[in-house]
Amino acid sequence: MPFIESVDHLTEYRRRVRAARDPQQLQVLVCGGPGCLPLGSEELAAAFAAEMEARGIAGKVLLKTTGCHGLCSHGVRVLIRPQEISYQKVTVEDVPEIVETTLLSGGVVERLVYHHPESQAPCPHKMDIPFYQTQNPLVLRKLDVIDPESLDDYLALGGYRTLRKILFQMTPEQVIEAVEKSGLRGRGGGGFPTGRKWRLCREAQAQPKFVICNGDEGDPGAFMDRAVMEGDPHAVIEGMIVGGYAIGAMRGYIYVRHEYPLAVKRLQKAIDQAREFGLLGTNILRSNFSFDIQISQGAGAFVCGEETALIASIEGKIGEPNPRPPYPVQAGLFGLPTVINNVETWANVPEIINMGPEWFAAMGTDKSKGTKIFSLVGAVNNTGLVEVPMGTSLRQIIFGMGGGIAHNREFKAVQTGGPSGGCIPPQYLDLPVDYDSLQQVGSIMGSGGMIVMDNHDCMVDVARYFISFLMEESCGKCTPCREGLKQLITILNEITTGKGEAHHVDLMEDICQTMATASLCGLGQSAANPVRSTLKYFREEYERHIRDKKCPAKVCRQLLIYTIDPNECTSCLACVRECPVGAISGPKKEPQVIDQDICVKCGLCVDACQFDAVKVE
């Protein structure tokens, strides 16, 4: 790779990369995103390589493993370009047929394409699939085309054009103005206006200054930041360089949680490439701006996503939050002015500068501009990542892109905003999704997790789950959060095990109020949201647990009775082997029986049985 010495050199290099590429080049793009990877992307790519070699087309067809293709439930996904044929649920066994039919003969393997749920018509091309049709991908748009480990791929699609623009055509002041005008708000949860944050930091006196990328992505159920870091790492880096230039920083940190080893690897590779190329380092493109980035790995703590705790952790301290003010823009990393933004926020920046703030502000709602990525998971037919303009309704996302509720069940709620968010009931399905509307119904945007629940999910159990998660993750520094969560979980455990009492509901509301008012950081202040929102919209369900000792969704195990239906039991003994307490027995080759006195109601027999013979009441 050459060292780029000047703007002209960069333009020239990009031109050469582009000229060397044939737009009609046949390409096989295997999804290696968070959803497909566990299904075997690597083996699949290897199988393609081997088969293409065997058929003598290895030199003619370009094979790449890319970032997330979006529709994770139908992975492993494979995109064939330039036709944009989109295959789903591809396994190693399908490779010879794809090579034969599509790569050698130009046809379509119909059994591997998406079929429209209503008309049953095949949807061979990506844009025939309803899931993709209604999206508006800005941040995700390159994920299924580029090889995340190739700087050339990023450059070919116009990457680092923004860098050139800011360094030679814009003052830092103009960059900040553009970001302000665009209306971009933080994608990490708080929704603070990004331009204003940058301005406050630029105006701070102390030197040096820092920029930080928050890649902690602690919200369980959210994986958009992982997908962006793994799939388009240079976009994050370019965004950070722009931010560094705007506020006058020379150093940036990317904080990534250690559960994301691939994100760390890809970002490190991208940083190394940018350095080698001269896009990071001293006097970038011979300007007088110098900037470099290093990665800092999280060590596994949810609270470290909170900005002051994250900063403490980069400084080598335990990840305990500190009271604000002072805000990081005044006294952040090492006590110096610091801008901290989320991964998706950074990834939006290059295009905003490149296309202009008006272009960006034309999308979205009055107060929430641009697009937002959501990780749509849970009880829907199509799970994966979707990117839509702000203000798109929950219904469009869940029933449009999500294809409705799986197994023909009933929609019950959607949980947004992670552990600090809430459960939104069916009456708000037409709510436009933006920062303010979600808050009005007792939830938050958070980082964009959207977990859809159906009538087999118990809202009391969901509240209990989040409270127990938060209790584990509370750093313990302030009393309302530490003790409040402890008390909430005690009560919720009693309710879900049949020991609930009538006064518990009021007591919980009281505790929630105290925590929201008196906690030190956002974790404690919002920790009560899961309880509050479920109490508000699903109070009846709490009462069924407390009054009747019943769990209508059949989730709270201590309130259930497990039996084996003798007509369906095949005597395979899978449940007997699984039962941890030896509660299941019976004569050989005859239906088995669960001894209710021994049964600890763990439910493992239900999972172990392949014939649905274990019944739950």
Partner: protein, 150 residues
């Protein structure tokens, strides 16, 4: 104490207080845990009170003060995995391996852990053994998967 190995790690850093977490991560990677004697040296060399080194070593979940097993099995109990039976998966593994969550089997082969979210929510329930992901792991698939590591 294997001072040479420790020096090898420390030599990669300027030994500023801010290097504490990366140094501990390297020790954890290399030793599979954080041995006490090594922590004392780290405190000295980074000019930090031993109490601060221990507070960091015990705060973050990725650090362990006791040796971990040859294979580390992480069961995701993120929201989606929770709804789809992640907790039961963890219990099933715990029963089969005969070890509580957070502990290591007697033969040092397996450490069983739960994690907040592995980010593969579309394939819930998910687990990871060492660097390999397993998708849609229902309880009945467990014996076959474990066999590969025994």
């Amino acid at each position: 104490m294997d001072l040479q190995r420790l020096e090898g790690i420390l030599s990669r850093y300027a030994c500023q207080p801010a290097d504490l977490i990366p140094v501990l991560q390297d020790i954890q990677d290399s030793y599979n845990y954080l041995p006490k004697d090594e922590l004392k040296v780290v405190a000295e060399r980074l000019h930090l009170p031993l109490a601060q080194v221990f507070s960091v070593a015990t705060f973050f979940t990725m650090f362990s003060l006791v040796p971990k097993g040859k294979h580390v099995c992480k069961v995701c109990v993120g929201t989606t995995c929770h709804l789809k039976g992640g907790q039961r998966l963890a219990e099933s593994l715990s029963n089969r391996l005969g070890v509580d969550i957070g502990y290591t089997t007697k033969d040092m082969n397996f450490t069983l852990e739960t994690v907040a979210c592995l980010g593969s929510c579309a394939q819930a329930p998910v687990m990871m053994i060492d660097d390999t992901y397993y998708a849609r792991v229902t309880v009945d698939k467990v014996p076959k998967i474990l066999k590969k590591y025994q």
